[in-house]
Symmetry: C3
Subunit: 345 residues, 3 copies
């Protein structure tokens, strides 16, 4: 429980109203009760503000006008709300201890303040830091290192020798350190596997989404820097580097040895070619294909928004002949020039 | 074992031939034997009908002409076959009981007629309904609810507080209720996590494919309505709503807070933007990007079919200059107009 | 430990320098030490050759010129390196034995030389060949067959009745034999499930990436031929056939009943339509959509490279009117023809 004036301080917001009001939790505008705080992200939801039964509201100065309520007023209600919610709804700390069914190798070093869930497997030489939790059925391979306060969620897999920093979350089903996809073609057409001898190195405060896969490096390492946020079902191939605080939405695929800068925003479904370099502060819009290196800052796109399927089919048909179209236009321009200059044909 | 007249009733088809023929199973046209029934979905396969050794065939009236066989005749052989197959090859019911290696919290309520497999984990306060089965190594988090006759397949994960209805199938590796991808940027560029406090609510008769991920809501819930069918490797982000009987093929990604109507058909590889509304009975063709809200019914597309790579490269080159092309055409048109009106240049 | 002349033989390369030099491992150019061998794949890295402290280098004849080092000279350093690395860094063989926590049905046949990890589950009638390893927490369903020296990695799932050949790798989280996505629409709009009665049959030397899913056939089988290599997060739908030595990069989706030839190269993020036939030796470029059948050999594409988002938006706007553009061009051409032939308007 916090008072509204305490929350104003946490949020970096201006208090309007009763600073002694006690707030216990967060909720959406339409469902919040007297001991809960809600926020209004957009003036679109302004009408809901009057009707909301929330004990307190986080709003912009503009939306605050004329509102006779207990308010936290700030420039960006979403940020203020996130700060307040982190305080009101903290993640429950890991409960130290090992479930009796966990299979932990004798040579693994599991901190006394770490938590190990049912049927988790921790192999030889692995290290689990203080406050870390290894979820039910999760797998931590030989010599892997899990930093302090990092949460490996149920059924996630961290393969041998990989290193994960502090305060990370590896979501259920994620696979860290699978073998990279490295083959060369033998003269008889068969694929010869190239041993994948590197690791995955993940920094601090990195979140990895459910069923996302990050392959180990071939000779060097795959490296995910501090503060990176990866959504679900993302594929990061071997030897990729991802810079500080870069975020990727779901279903992104990054091919081998791509180097991605810091603070990039990669939207959902994007494909990033192998062996390219992406500068800092680059944005790529959803469903685009980043094929070549780009410098940042900048915003890049190749996505096509869906339209009526019949209209689309007609346009695609024309597109197939766009080269011909361009050549016909050139001829037309020449003819016009001729005509304009006197029509000497 | 069923007689052909019993199967005719099940299929809603017209019996032609020996109604007493006994049928034990289903098989493809080319492999079916005397006690099996096969179907012919398309007149393309008409020649195989004569050669098939199947005990009985399901065909259209058109294909039935001149066929001296035991037949079930109907308008849609695929539907009739599905009905017959459900009867001849029913899913084996869950065998009640708990594997000795399952880790079930004392406070979980597991129905006496539910089945719990080897190394499954069921946490505190979870509820497992009658006839439900929790597969080997599956995880059911605290307070999650699994409805009657629902099958959680091996290694699937249902996180805390999520609710799954009756007669659902959650395929291997699927993750229900991972944390939503919600962050706001702090003034120093770091990402601040927005607590994801909602749940995933799944209705009845919903199928979720292998390694598909459905994130829990941020403040509200992510909701999948009755009868929805999701294929493999689909990503459903936080706060998405999917309407009754909508089906999505593999590799679809749906971004946060999208609202999708009932009976939609979303083909493989489609991306759906966040915060948009998709009407009922909307179809989206494979590999398209639905960027804005659309009303239904309607069919939408933005997919480009692959062609010869060299031709494609040439067209892409032109496409990059399509804006210039359009402006040149406008100039040409003006010049022509001038020439036609007397050529006063 | 091998001598350089032994490695020259393994690599099929020409030895230049001290054949008695002892080599223990492989490393990247920039990090290799005196007892390690490195390779130079491209003349771009030529400057690093002089500075490298590697005991030996694998280079092309061109790059070898003037290099006073112990060398293996060959046409394709990547292939030579892969051969050498396979010898210097062999995969550790499976350690025979069963972890005490593994749940193995009494009727399963597990070879005495197979390895079964912690919390693995092997169901009734399954067969595990000699030298095979079933990783921690992996699941092998009833009557499934795992060939000799095949590695099922941690948390991978092989469902009932599936057959996997010899020397395969099934990566963590992969799901082999989930139910195919087969439904027909009942007259009331509901989906009726079509029982998925087939299997997945995987040949020898097949690698399947992390969290990749391969569905079982509906009536027939899904078949992956010898030597196929599948990267992470790939979806293979029911009844698909993939030919010998075909390779697919991450995030590819193949829809039901597609038949893909031998030695194809399917780049990342490609979508392949259902029920089409793809010839041998077909290449599809990254992020393309193969919608119709194609004959091989050939290279196909429909990918659009991302560009500056503003320029892109302008071009997309024009593209939406390309049909109109084409019709206007036709009119302009007619007008020009008229003008050229005397301007009789």
């Amino acid at each position: 429980m916090y008072t509204l004036s305490e929350l104003a301080r946490v949020a970096g917001a201006t208090l309007c109203g009763n600073g002694d009001r006690e707030i216990e939790g967060v909720a959406p505008l339409t469902r919040a009760g007297a001991r809960e705080i809600a926020y209004c992200a957009s003036s679109r939801y302004r009408p809901q503000l009057d009707e909301s039964r929330a004990g307190a509201l986080i709003v912009t100065a503009e939306d605050a006008e004329g509102l006779k309520r207990d308010l936290l007023v700030c420039a960006d209600p979403r940020v203020a709300f996130a700060r307040v919610a982190m305080v009101l709804c903290p993640e429950p700390p890991a409960v130290p201890g090992r479930h009796e069914t966990a299979a932990i190798d004798d040579s693994a070093q599991v901190d006394a303040n770490a938590s190990v869930g049912a049927h988790a497997v921790i192999e030889a030489g692995a290290q689990i830091g203080p406050g870390a939790s290894i979820g039910a059925g999760a797998f931590v391979g030989a010599r892997a290192q899990i930093g302090a306060h990092t949460r490996i969620e149920p059924r996630a897999v961290v393969m041998h020798d990989c290193v994960i920093g502090e305060h990370c979350v590896i979501s259920p089903g994620a696979v860290i350190g699978g073998e990279g996809f490295g083959y060369v073609r033998e003269t008889d057409g068969r694929w010869l596997k190239v041993p994948q001898l590197g690791r995955v190195i993940i920094g601090d405060r990195v979140d990895v989404g459910a069923n996302t896969t990050i392959d180990r490096g071939a000779l060097g390492d795959t490296v995910i820097a501090n503060g990176v946020k990866l959504d679900n079902l993302i594929q990061i191939a071997h030897n990729v580097k991802v810079g500080v605080d870069t975020a990727m939405a779901g279903c992104v695929g990054v091919a081998g040895s791509a180097v991605i800068g810091s603070r990039c925003l990669i939207a959902g479904g994007v494909g990033i070619m192998g062996h390219i370099t992406v500068g800092d502060d680059v944005e790529v819009t959803a469903m685009s294909f980043l094929k070549g290196s780009v410098e940042g800052p900048g915003r890049f796109s190749s996505s096509l928004p869906a339209t009526n399927a019949e209209v689309w089919a007609r346009n695609v048909g024309r597109f197939r002949h766009i080269d011909e179209l361009a050549r016909r236009l050139r001829r037309a321009e020449r003819a016009i020039k001729q005509l304009l200059s006197g029509g000497k044909s």
